[in-house]
Symmetry: C2
Subunit: 135 residues, 2 copies
């Protein structure tokens, strides 16, 4: 697993899809992920420090995790299949049990900026992406 950080959000007002770029913390590799505009603006808002008067859907994810006494530990980008990235959110239940919840990278990254969670990418995903780019 390679730790990455959100390095850029590229928002194009005219497009439905936006791009977030995850960059390796200790290296040069980058992963651009296309996400929806709502998810992009939800990430952007949080990074800019803009507070919504009422909880956005991603804020509700945080409220749910906390309300249920769980702890979100990290986000994993663990697969890339036919142009789609797959992610998981790793959580520790109140009982101590660790669970992985399937998510789109956009939702997972939005949760990570809200809860300051590290983001890890499976080494294999970098290779698959590069292979995809060269295809």
């Amino acid at each position: 697993m390679v730790e990455v950080e959100l390095s850029r959000i590229i928002i194009d007002e005219k497009s439905h899809d936006q791009v977030i770029v995850l960059r390796e913390k200790n290296g040069p590799r980058q992963i651009p992920i296309m996400i929806g505009s709502v998810e992009a603006s939800s990430i952007q808002m949080r990074i800019s420090g803009v507070e919504s008067p009422r909880p956005l859907t991603h804020d509700l994810l945080v409220l749910l995790v906390k309300g249920l006494g769980a702890e979100a530990e990290c986000v994993l980008i663990d697969d890339f299949v036919e142009g789609t990235y797959f992610a998981k959110i790793r959580l520790k239940k109140e009982s101590g049990e660790v669970v992985l919840v399937d998510a789109r990278p956009s939702d997972a990254v939005s949760l990570s900026v809200r809860m300051k969670l590290p983001i890890y990418v499976e080494e294999d995903v970098f290779h698959k992406t590069v292979a995809g780019d060269n295809a």
Copy 2:
């Protein structure tokens, strides 16, 4: 508390805001709630039986609740202040403890259609809304 059900979703493609109408189960009163277009289409998709290949943000809410071993019990629309409805999601933790999580009605209703949760409206909210309409 008065039980209501989602009776209509009014989607206007040209508008940013859409409307859902909650109707009293055993009576004629209705509550129209303005919600965002993404939340409206997320509700609409689920009602139409359209499955997203990857979990939408509201599907992730469901996965989180289940993954954390909790049980969502119902949705409460419990206040109306200055034109804004307030909602709560009532959940039972694995330990049996009941928790209320603050949410926008759009997210709460979207969760309710996915998890088949009853929706209740505080009697007081009907009065506040009617008062608002007459103002």
